[in-house]
């Protein structure tokens, strides 16, 4: 049995320990806010935080994260400044990539509360969006950084 701490709550998992974390979160714990997009770590839809670091949960066997702090989109408070910024800038179109985008942006702002535009482009460059919301994502992160600092 593997014990996992997700969004401050404890979960137990008893199936194959090699299973990718994304499936355990989604299909075993019902935390479907974390999305599955490509399965090989290229799109960023499945981005979650593991001990504060944004990681691709499709690339991480669940056995590797026992005892670590996992944070998913569901773990952000209702009025979290990034969610508010995303709403203010009307970022989502289809919305599928946005939880991953927000989790990636959260890591950026945690480590760099006042990012330049260049910092944002660099940090966000491997989180794909097919609807073309990139400019709004950039504006939302700038807005969020202003609110935070």
């Amino acid at each position: 049995m593997i014990r996992l701490k997700v969004n401050g709550k404890f979960y137990s998992y008893e199936d194959d320990p090699d299973t990718a974390l994304v499936w355990v979160l989604r299909e075993h714990f019902g935390l479907t806010g974390t999305k599955w997009g490509c399965g090989v770590g290229l799109c960023g839809c499945c981005t979650v935080h593991i001990d504060g670091i944004a990681e691709r949960s499709c690339q991480i066997p669940v056995k590797r994260v026992e005892g670590k702090e996992i944070l998913t989109i569901e773990g952000l408070p209702r009025d979290h400044y990034l969610k508010v910024a995303w709403l203010e800038e009307e970022v989502p179109e289809c919305g599928y990539c946005q939880p991953g985008q927000i989790m990636r942006a959260l890591e950026l702002l945690n480590s760099n509360p006042n990012p330049s535009e260049e910092d944002i482009l660099q940090a966000m460059d491997s989180n794909l969006c097919r609807c073309g919301t990139y400019n709004r994502i950039k504006r939302a992160i700038l807005r969020a950084s202003r609110v935070k600092t």
Partner: protein, 748 residues
């Protein structure tokens, strides 16, 4: 049916087609929505529901049902706004629900329930206004009755009816009992458009909150107790047949429940997704070679090049094109090539099906409810009323989910099981079994007169046909209407025009093709607008003015061009290796013009698009922010294709597998996009696709202005740029030299 609303039709609609969602009338208090499946029994709606579009509860909550699918284009906000405007609803009390699949919700023009063709806002504008207006008239009548006054003494505003004489007022929720007992007016009066107070504003999208907190349920997120997970393997080459597989090894994997052969492959069904994937790894299927084992990336270009010499079927021949060409002072011609493109939605194809003896429930991220129901009836042998289709949020479509293939797979698999099944495609399957945007080539020839104006335009399109599979009855005389769209019916006033089409058939090119955001416009705008630019240069004219001179009959097209050019400060300052490029397009009754500010790095051939300025006229912007979102997104979708995308083939099948070999635009490559809405006050038209078409030619035209190289094949990769620059240096002639400021200086 949409135009005359009545309660009886509402009932009929629900009973007749959807079957599982019923509306029961309870005395005079309105409707409750129930489903036969008690496990997923929807909430009760008691209150007032004069038609299938809206429901008002005692607590003033207004539920508006959306017939269209929310694919990201904002219909869950823009369509309810239309109802709420006429209803004079308090927008803060409005919520939206996906309507079921039912005749009631058919597209009034297309007579099927489908979300496609940038048509939702324009096709549903009047029916939804009437729905809201009918309810408002009934609420006013109810208030008049309650107050004991005439309806003419009452006014509805922001969810309340007010007695204009005394000022007393009552909320809609308090009127539902009386209103529910009144007749539904068939032809209620509508507001004057100048009196709109909600439409034309940009309230927050109703779907955004669920999308930023992770609670929005997409097809991938469906979980039904007791369900199995299905993953599949499919033929690696077109037409390949299964020869053998290691069934026993796969069945030995713990959790694997069943292996099911279906018409397009083999499915491993297991109690967990990880068991299904492990089972798939053990399967080791052996496939035959397929129908065209030598098919590879270059194959389509060989065919297109060859077929360019073939005489096509004439779509339009007006005026005297040949005679006028001969009389021209100058003739110019060019060939253009465009690749197969994938949709690459962020949410891969998936569907969940629970098939039982006398009913079937389907959860699908699908934009084509009408075809989905028809297919499900055929596959299951059940009656339409025994099939319950639940459309989920959709993680991107761009035309891909007009197809219902991924749901058909799930139904076929479900037939072999006695429990619900969730089918999930891998990203590799999603790429390899897409219905691609057809590859395409065109030959254009035109003449210029003494004044630098076009004398005649001859255009040949060579391409596989989308309609041959999707709607063969529309393939009149062997002409695919999408392959030639927006050439003979562009905004340009070409008096002498000849247009023909050469159909690349499936036995020549085995690649299945389908609708891809903007469909044929994605080819034809590139070829027409690139060639217009070539002609402008040949005539020694400003590309903007040259276009304006050929748009005398289209003031709206001129207006968007002038607006975009003005906002972009056309023609811009002369800069080394950097210039502006312009294009315009007319698509589904919407006018657009874009200016792209592009630089070329001659050493590496890399292209940088710094900024895109766009002007769009969609008649009236119902929700300006959503219009901007759609146009921005459409432009970036088109830019991604213009610079990066091309599906690769080898060994008779698709070799493109994932985002590493099909890179799409990233945030660091994204230009600033400025969208300016030109309000013409004309009829509301669609904006979902219009941005996609004109960006590729604007970029190609800017590259020519900046570097003097004409890129006539997409995508515009650094390799092609470097090759074109080398070619230019080899054959440099003064005439073809780049910067048009030079031309102006030389007085050409």
């Amino acid at each position: 049916m949409m135009d005359s609303l009545s309660r009886r039709q509402f009932l009929k609609g629900f009973f007749g087609a959807a079957g599982l969602t019923l509306v029961e009338w309870r005395d005079s208090l309105g409707a409750i929505l129930v489903t036969k499946d008690q496990d997923v029994c929807t909430e009760r709606l008691s209150g007032f529901s004069p038609n299938g579009w809206l429901h008002i509860s005692f607590d003033d909550t207004i539920t508006i049902f959306c017939s269209q699918c929310e694919i990201g284009q904002g219909v869950f906000t823009s369509l309810p706004m239309i109802v709420a405007e006429e209803l004079e609803a308090d927008w803060s009390c409005v919520r939206v629900k996906q309507a079921p699949v039912a005749d009631q919700y058919m597209d009034p023009v297309w007579k099927t329930q489908v979300t496609a063709g940038s048509a939702s806002a324009s096709h549903f504008f009047m029916p939804l206004r009437k729905a809201g207006a009918a309810a408002k008239q009934m609420l006013i009548a109810a208030a008049a009755k309650k107050f004991g006054i005439s309806p003419t003494e009452c006014q509805a505003f922001k969810g309340r009816v007010t007695d204009v004489t005394t000022g007393r007022s009552i909320s809609y929720g308090k009127l539902v009992s009386i209103a529910a007992g009144l007749a539904v007016p068939a032809d209620p009066p509508l507001k004057e458009e100048k009196d709109f107070n909600l439409l034309g504003t940009s309230p927050k999208r109703l779907d955004s909150f669920a999308k930023v907190n992770g609670s929005a349920k997409y097809g991938m997120d469906i979980h039904i107790p007791g369900m199995l997970y299905a993953v599949t393997c499919r033929p690696p080459a077109y037409g390949a047949k299964l020869i053998g597989l290691n069934k026993q090894a796969a069945l030995k994997v713990r959790g694997v429940n069943k292996i099911v052969k279906f018409s397009r492959g083999v499915a491993i069904c297991a109690t967990t997704i990880q068991a299904a994937q492990k089972g798939l790894n053990e399967l080791v299927p052996n496939w035959s070679k397929g129908v065209k084992p030598t098919w590879q990336s270059s194959s389509i270009y060989e065919i297109l090049g060859r077929e360019l010499d073939v005489e096509g079927v004439v779509k339009t021949s007006r005026g005297r094109p040949d005679e006028m060409l001969k009389k021209s002072k100058k003739e110019w011609h060019a060939n253009y090539f465009l690749p197969y493109l994938a949709h690459a939605t962020m949410e891969p194809m998936n569907s969940t099906v629970h098939l039982q003896k006398d009913r079937c429930t389907i959860w699908a991220p699908c934009q084509n409810q009408g075809d989905l129901l028809e297919m499900a009836v055929k596959e299951t042998g059940l009656k339409p009323e025994q099939i319950d289709i639940k459309i989920t949020f959709i993680g991107g479509s761009f035309g891909r989910r007009y197809e219902v293939d991924f749901v058909k797979d799930a139904i076929e698999i479900a037939k072999a099981l006695n429990r619900p099944v969730k089918l999930m495609w891998s990203r590799e399957e999603d790429f390899r079994h897409d219905y691609f945007r057809p590859a395409n080539c065109a030959h254009i020839r035109a003449g210029l007169d003494d004044n630098g104006l076009i004398t005649a335009w001859k255009h040949k399109v060579v391409a596989p046909s989308v309609y041959a599979r999707i709607a063969p009855s529309l393939l009149k005389d062997g002409i695919d209407p999408s392959a030639v769209e927006s050439i003979h019916n562009s905004a340009y006033d070409f008096e002498h025009l000849h247009l023909e089409y050469v159909w690349i058939k499936e036995d020549q090119a085995p690649v299945p093709v389908g609708f891809w955001r903007s469909v044929g416009n994605s080819h034809n705008c590139f070829t027409v607008e690139s060639f217009m630019d070539e002609l402008a240069w040949q005539a020694g004219r400003d590309p903007l003015q040259f276009r304006l001179d050929h748009l005398k009959g289209s003031p709206r097209a001129r207006k968007v061009l002038e607006t975009a050019a003005q906002k972009a400060e056309w023609p811009g300052k002369p800069r080394k290796n950097r210039a502006l490029g312009i294009s315009q397009h007319y698509l589904v009754y919407t006018y657009i013009a874009v200016v792209a500010d592009v630089s070329v790095e001659p050493e590496t051939g890399s292209i940088r698009v710094h900024k895109v300025i766009c002007a769009v006229d969609c008649g009236r912007a119902l929700h300006p922010t959503i219009v901007k979102q759609q146009v921005e997104g459409g432009i970036l979708f088109g830019l991604s294709a213009a610079l990066k995308e091309e599906v690769q083939f080898s060994n008779g099948g698709v070799s493109t597998a994932n985002f590493d070999d099909y890179p799409i635009l990233t945030i660091s490559e994204t230009p600033e996009v400025d969208v300016h809405i030109v309000e013409s006050g004309e009829k509301v038209t669609g904006v979902g696709e219009v941005g996609t078409a004109p960006i590729a030619p604007a970029v190609a035209n800017a590259i020519f202005a900046a570097a003097g190289i004409r890129l006539r094949s997409l995508p515009i990769t650094p390799k092609k740029v470097v090759e074109a620059l080398a070619q230019k240096h080899k054959t440099q002639s003064k005439k073809e030299e780049g910067n048009w400021f030079g031309h102006l200086k030389k007085g050409l």
